[in-house]
Amino acid sequence: MDTPSRAVAETPARTSPRSGVTGWYRRFTRTERILHALLMLTFVGCALSGLPLLEADRPWAPVLARMLGGFQTAGLIHRVCAAVMIGVFVTHVGTLTMRGLRKRSVLALVWGPESMVPQPQDVVDIYHNFKWFLGRGPRPVFDRWTYWEKFDYWAVFWGMFIIGGSGLLLWFPFFFGKLLPGWMFNIASLVHGEEALLAVGFIFTIHFFNGHLRPEKFPMDTAVFTGRMPAEELVHERARLYDRLQATRTLAREEAPAPTLESRAFGWVVGGTALALGVVTILLILYSAISS
């Protein structure tokens, strides 16, 4: 039953815990960690500098705008963060392209358990996870990427196109004004704000909970800063990955030295700051929603 080529419909629940596996395993590459850190910082920067405009009629909005140095300085911060974020996105797409070229196969990138592209297995995982939530089944285990991680990932892709595209339109209205009808700018400012609410609301609540704040990981999972996950996580949560690596005898290749103190400290300080800012932002949005 426990083979890597397990059929899609079968429940990947583990009944016996593995023992004897210790140490740390690779989770993210150095490039991915740097990109995540930059994405995180620019995201918080864009959120804090953009929210005063989006929620301009709230009492805290002028205060925050003044703290950032006025709306013009806030706009500058917003554009600098946006430019860096676009850079992060382009770099990521670039590394994916390189990876695809190196392996001479786009297929591995878009299909199979290593791919970020949603698989039929993800639908099954959602079903089993909800069954477990409701106490109707065992807790499912996952491969390298869970369905909620894939959702977060594609949400950024979607957001980059929607927010990034509309943002560029609003940034360079005269250039785009020559090409596009005026109503496109109405749509651009609408979706820029709405998608921003979606992204900020999602990242600072759902993503924070899934990745960091849920009781098993509380207060945060430093994997994305250190690039390592403990063997325990691989064996218990990502047991399908563990089985697959063992079956292909590539488990040893995934082993990694324990995270350095510096990388963990970086995770705690920078990640913790982002978490705190995110929670503050959510409180401001909730305050807005309640007081309106």
Binding site: P52, L53, L54, A56, D57, A61, P62, A65, G70, F71, Q72, N129, F130, W132, F133, L134, G135, W148, F151, L170, P173, F174, G177, K178, L180, P181, G182, W183, F185, N186, I187, S189, L190, V191, E194, E195, L197, L198, G201, F202, T205, I206, F209, N210, R214, P215, E216
Partner: protein, 445 residues
């Protein structure tokens, strides 16, 4: 001769006795005077005594009335007691009259006697009774008092309001000076302070519920109040320029100069060019057509807190005034970058007036309007120098509710709404269930 001298001496003794008696029958204040202002009393007493003695010694045997001499006047007789700065009546209330201030007053200068106003006092019968009748200014100023009685102040007085201003509240009492005199309470430069003694007195405003609240402090910081404190004082309007003097009427009365029906003309007495512009604009035309809801100057500028139109505070606040009538347009404006930045209190981006104009606002259907199809590019170019016809086809009042005006915008908004609802509903439940499961498992274990 001996008899005469004796009689004269007896007479003087008699007068002395009267005065001594009066010191007791006219109790506290006099006694105070006798102690504190004894020097003055002594000199007054000697003067009266001398006059009496002289009159007695010459002809007037039976009548001890003081006779005007070149050196004295009936007013001096009054000031003999009232001239003391600490003169008080039996209740301890000051009855002092400043001789200097009175001497400078228009009444003294015109040779009016104290008893002309205080007609129930006679210098023949001193000391006079303690309770005097109120002075009737109307005896001389008949026309002004008649006018006053029809004003908001006069009507309030008649209605039993004991704090509403009467003649003396604005003009003073013994120190009344002509309005042209820079020291007059009713001089142009001093009227703000005079009116503010009630309308800028926070305690009185609250106690008497004066209409308009603390107008004094509002006016003082207004563009008019500041101008009054500056070099252009004589040209700057003070309270009476808008409200009138002996004809101040309640704002609700149509005859009032500050009633909605007359506000533009009242302001227009100084701002004639603006009035002409206003009259040719949509708001002015509505008003001429008899629409009483049409805005007048004070609706946008306020009455007493008028600010410079360049001030960010005014420019961002007046948007709310436009929105008071044009609520839908305010909502859609707030959805734009312009509306968001001004909501934060910054005025560097377009406000209503930037595109629509201020006094000369015309509907977009009018080709002369700043927002007409013909003028739109030019209007946008005042800020966006590169604005093109395509650029200005952006809708500054796109409504996410209005399917006919902006169908694509409408559906885009609907799509985004449902996207947000969908994502947060699914992952909200996902997170909630997950959290609940982890807690339940932990509790069971």
């Amino acid at each position: 001769m001996a008899l005469r001298r004796g009689t004269a001496t007896a007479r003087l003794t008699h007068v002395n006795a009267i005065f001594e008696a009066s010191l007791h029958s006219w109790p506290n204040p006099r006694r105070d005077i006798s102690v504190k202002g004894s020097a003055m009393l002594r000199s007054s007493f000697l003067r009266i005594a001398t006059v009496l003695l002289l009159s007695a010694a010459s002809t007037c045997w039976a009548k001890p009335a003081p006779v005007a001499s070149p050196a004295t006047s009936p007013n001096d007789t009054c000031l003999a007691c009232h001239g003391a700065s600490d003169a008080k009546d039996s209740a301890g209330k000051s009855i002092a009259v400043s001789a200097d201030a009175f001497a400078q007053s228009i009444h003294a200068q015109s040779g009016i006697a104290c008893t002309s106003c205080h007609a129930d006092v006679s210098v023949d019968k001193l000391p006079h009774g303690e309770k005097l009748k109120p002075v009737a200014c109307a005896n001389c100023h008949d026309k002004q008092v008649k006018e006053y009685s029809a004003t908001v102040h006069g009507m309030a007085r008649r209605g039993g309001n004991s704090v509403a201003a009467t003649c003396t509240d604005c003009h003073g009492k013994h120190d009344i000076r002509p309005s042209k005199d820079p020291a007059s309470r009713t001089n142009h430069a001093n009227l703000e302070a005079t009116c503010s003694s009630c309308h800028g007195n926070a305690a009185l405003v609250a106690q008497a519920k004066l209409p308009g609240g603390n107008i004094g402090s509002e006016f003082h910081d207004s563009i008019h109040g500041r101008a009054l404190a500056g070099a252009a004082q004589s040209a700057a309007p003070t309270c009476t320029n808008c409200h009138g003097t002996h004809n101040i009427l309640p704002v609700g009365e149509e005859a009032s100069r500050v009633n909605r029906a007359h506000v533009p003309e009242t302001c227009g007495t100084c701002h004639g060019a603006v009035l002409a512009k206003f009259n040719s604009g949509q708001h002015g035309k509505m008003r001429q057509a008899g629409n009483t809801a049409a805005p007048v100057c004070t609706d946008c500028h306020s009455a007493h807190e008028i600010q410079r139109h360049e001030s960010p505070k005014f420019q961002t606040a007046v948007i709310g005034q436009c929105g008071g009538c044009h609520a839908d347009y305010l909502t859609t404006y707030r959805d734009t970058f312009h509306g968001q930045v001004t909501a934060l209190g910054y005025s560097q981006v377009a406000t209503c007036a930037s595109c629509h104009g201020a006094h000369e606002i015309l509907p977009a259907s009018n080709p002369a309007s700043t927002v007409s199809a013909e003028n739109r590019v030019k209007t946008c170019q005042t800020c966006h120098a590169n604005a093109s016809a395509k650029f200005v086809s952006w809708d500054p009042h796109a409504s996410r509710e209005d399917k006919t005006r902006n169908p694509i915008y409408f559906y885009a908004a609907k799509f985004m709404e449902w996207l947000l609802i969908g994502v947060f509903a699914f992952f909200g439940l996902h997170t909630l269930f997950w959290f609940a499961r982890l807690v339940i498992d932990k509790v069971r274990r």
